[in-house]
């Protein structure tokens, strides 16, 4: 029972709680804000898992840009209050619950099956970071072994930008 574990469980609980709240709020703005909380909690968890750079990216990009975009759109469409019957009927609820339940059972089976033998070096990431630093350990391979996906991603983003502009225009 050390500090890491305590902090982990606090923020894990926070993430799960705000996740549930995000899913169940009637107002889209409230949902968006709870999602931001979830992302912050996850960022803390990332830090605990030796992914500091990614944690910062999570806050900057995800919580900072994507969620802001969401809020912009919500505000633009004036959906702030939340319309009347937003959830599905009893049938829909039951089906959803059942399916989610099945999925959960399956996932539980999977995460129990993750064999410890797979883990050769218990803290490979930490060692890598000692060698190259926190940013360098991610950035190095990014420009090295994963260069092609990196470049393709930039093209993807370009496509996304163009697509978003075209789709959202009032008149083509």
């Amino acid at each position: 029972m050390n500090l890491v574990t305590i902090v982990f469980w606090i923020f894990a609980g926070l993430a799960l709680g705000s996740g549930v709240l995000c899913v169940t709020r009637r107002s889209p703005v409230a949902s968006a804000l709870w999602l931001v909380v979830t992302m912050f909690s996850l960022a803390v968890l990332f830090v605990l898992l030796d992914a500091q750079f990614i944690a910062v990216l999570q806050v900057l990009v995800y919580a900072g840009a994507v969620m802001v975009l969401f809020l912009f759109v919500i505000m633009l469409l004036n959906l702030g209050r939340g319309a009347g019957q937003d959830r599905k009927g009893v049938v829909g609820l039951t089906v959803g619950a059942v399916l989610a339940g099945i999925l959960f059972v399956q996932l539980r089976f999977l995460w129990n099956a993750a064999p410890p033998a797979l883990i050769q070096v218990p803290n490979a990431m930490a060692q890598l970071q000692q060698q190259h630093g926190m940013v360098g350990s991610v950035a190095g391979p990014l420009y090295d072994a994963y260069l092609v996906p990196f470049e393709i991603t930039s093209v993807l983003l370009l496509a996304a930008v163009v697509g978003a502009v075209v789709l959202a225009k009032r008149k083509l």
């Binding site: 982990f8 889209p28 898992l49 992914a51 959803g96 990431m125 930490a126 991610v138 391979p141």
Partner: protein, 98 residues
């Protein structure tokens, strides 16, 4: 050391996201639940990356990039639909019928 619990948290978060997608009718909220699912997956990757190498974190990097692009385009689509139908309720978006 934190691998097991991380995976558990990620799984539960994922299922919560799925539940949200299945239950809600508002298109934008469904979108946000999808983002939640993506976050859960990111957590999984990071958890494994701690002991298996940097590949997991690189993947998370790309997931975030793609999620951002997807959010942009998806919201543009929602905007376009809203312009035609004045609503984002899923019940009314059924032009694919038949």
């Amino acid at each position: 050391m934190l691998l097991g619990p991380s995976l558990a948290v990620a799984a539960v978060l994922f299922v919560i996201g799925v539940l949200g997608v299945l239950i809600r009718r508002n298109a934008i909220i469904i979108f946000m639940c999808v983002e939640l699912m993506l976050n859960a997956v990111n957590l999984t990757f990071i958890a494994f990356a701690q002991s298996l190498g940097v590949g997991g974190q690189i993947f998370v990097f790309f997931v975030m990039a793609v999620a951002a692009a997807e959010a942009a385009v998806g919201l543009a689509i929602v905007l376009a639909i809203y312009r035609h139908k004045e609503t984002v309720d899923l019940r009314n978006i059924n032009i694919l019928k038949g």
